[in-house]
């Protein structure tokens, strides 16, 4: 069985600095994969490569077996890979609804995500849809960022540090919403600092260290100890 999204020996460079060394990661249709690791392990570089924000070789990223590496970010979205960027990166001069509508530009197929579907997932956004995006709380802004990425009706949703800076009850709400996304057979790849949230939400994890995959497997098959060792080294 071919994976929906697969990296084969993915290298990422920033000038002379190499951030990723031959990373192999695969995600099946409808699967949720978590990428964990310490700061500087290369998680965000991995997401940047998958979303087309940094350059990579064509054959190093495969979507349904066809090479998509090195495509521009706007082509990646149209292929069905949509990123919720770290730090949310909402458009500050746009309202909540305008932010969501921007996401619809990348839509090429219908997987059931529309303004109404996003508002059904996050009812609070409907109440605040005409407010400027920066006036929302951090958790609500994260909901806008997720909703905006969903508006592209992606096959693969990339979530970069979506719990960062949020209070635990808000994190629970955000991950509950991701559960709904998974029920629609969307593949989700999350990068997460919060180990507990990552293990709970994912079918499989990959632990990165210094730009390489140092551990992978199903959360239930891995001992907490092994994960901790992979995470912190030693």
């Amino acid at each position: 069985m071919t994976a929906l999204l697969e990296t084969c020996g993915l290298d990422v460079f920033y000038g002379d600095f190499q951030a990723l060394f031959g990373v192999d990661v695969a995600a099946e249709e409808g699967e949720t994969v978590a990428i964990i690791g310490a700061n500087g392990a290369g998680k965000s570089s991995f997401m940047a490569a998958l979303s087309g924000l940094t350059h990579s070789r064509a054959e190093q990223i495969l979507l349904e077996g066809s090479p998509v590496g090195g495509m521009t970010a706007f082509d990646m979205v149209k292929r069905g890979i949509s990123l919720v960027p770290e730090g949310r990166r909402l458009f500050p001069s746009l309202s909540v609804e305008e932010n969501l509508l921007m996401g619809a530009h990348g839509r090429t197929t219908d997987r059931g995500w529309s303004l109404d579907a996003v508002y059904a997932l996050f009812p609070v956004l409907k109440e605040r849809r005409h407010q400027p995006a920066p006036s929302l709380s951090g958790g609500q802004q994260q909901m806008v960022a997720i909703g905006r990425a969903l508006m592209a009706n992606p096959r693969v949703l990339l979530c970069d540090e979506i719990s960062l800076g949020l209070a635990p009850p808000v994190i629970r709400d955000v991950y509950a919403a991701l559960g709904e996304v998974r029920r629609r057979a969307t593949t989700v790849i999350i990068v997460e600092q919060d180990l507990g949230a990552a293990l709970k939400a994912s079918d499989r994890i990959y632990c990165f260290m210094e730009g390489r995959v140092c551990l992978s497997g199903k959360p239930s098959d891995l001992s907490r100890d092994a994960i901790r060792r992979a995470y912190f080294g030693g």
Partner: protein
């Protein structure tokens, strides 16, 4: 009464400066590009309409209608083929390229049309005026002002009420994130430049019917446009209109003291705004 007259003439002149300025403000707002050839493209637009009049004998308003799609295509192509290649993290390259374009346009027009002063003609309308209460208002200056307000209102509608405007504002906010939305910024930039060239063409028409122009008239149009944008701030197109009006009033008041002070008064107001309100009257929020 003459004070009121001076003020009115200044406001109407400001309409023309606002027309010069909004196209410049649009491009700077969306792609942080200072188009140093902006004034020369205005003059080019006027020569296109003049040339249409000479070649096929159409009156100036018809030439304007013909020139609009041509100039849109010129702006679109200029952005796609030239300027998009200059927008790579370096502010100097687009400045140099548009400066070079400015020289090319001036010398190209000089070759084709010579250095003679030209005008677009509107017949009897040029000298028509309304008089009320001792104040006389020319029809053409009034029309210029009305069109300037309409252009500003139209651009505001486009920016705040349409899908294209949403994309333009989002692009202004953050270029990399717009790409993550599936938007090709090169197309957005080309469309923005095309719209700017529509405004350039309208302002070229009114420049041409209000005053003489020659191939070297571009840089001073750029200067007025630039001053109006800075005075108004980058918050909205209405601010740019206000900046144009303030510049127009300053020039009219200076000119009423002595013709030698007309330009100077405008520059002094511009400098005063830079000193005391460097972000302009209606700055961009945040």
């Amino acid at each position: 009464m003459s004070t009121l007259n001076t003020l009115i003439q200044g406001v109407l002149l400001g309409g023309l400066y606002a027309l010069y300025a909004v196209g410049l403000a649009l491009i700077f707002g969306v792609m942080r590009l200072v188009n140093l050839a902006h004034g020369d493209f205005i003059v080019l637009g006027a020569f296109v309409m003049l040339g249409l009049g000479m070649a096929i004998g159409v009156p100036a308003p018809v030439a304007l209608v013909i020139a609009l799609p041509f100039m849109f295509a010129l702006g679109w192509g200029l952005q796609r083929l030239v300027l998009n290649r200059t927008l790579e993290n370096d502010l100097l390259v687009p400045l140099l390229v548009t400066f070079g374009l400015s020289i090319i346009i001036q010398n190209g027009l000089l070759q084709i049309f010579s250095a003679d002063s030209r005008r677009l003609t509107l017949g009897a309308l040029e000298t028509a005026s309304y008089s009320f209460g001792g104040v006389s208002v020319g029809v053409v200056p009034l029309l210029t002002f009305v069109v300037a307000v309409a252009v500003v209102a139209g651009l505001s509608f486009l920016f705040y009420r349409t899908s294209l405007g949403r994309t333009l504002r989002a692009t202004s906010d953050s270029l990399p994130v717009v790409e993550l939305m599936g938007v090709d910024p090169r197309k957005v930039f080309a469309t923005a430049m095309g719209i700017s060239f529509l405004v350039i063409t309208v302002s070229a028409f009114f420049m041409g019917v209000r005053a003489n122009f020659d191939p070297s008239a571009g840089p001073s149009r750029l200067l007025y446009a630039f001053e109006a944008v800075v005075i108004g701030g980058l918050g909205s197109f209405w601010g740019t209109l206000a900046g144009g009006i303030i510049l127009g009033i300053a020039q009219a008041v200076g000119g009423s003291i002595s013709p030698a002070y007309q330009q100077l008064a405008g520059h002094l107001v511009f400098l005063a705004v830079i000193l005391f309100r460097p972000r302009g009257l209606l700055p961009k929020a945040g």
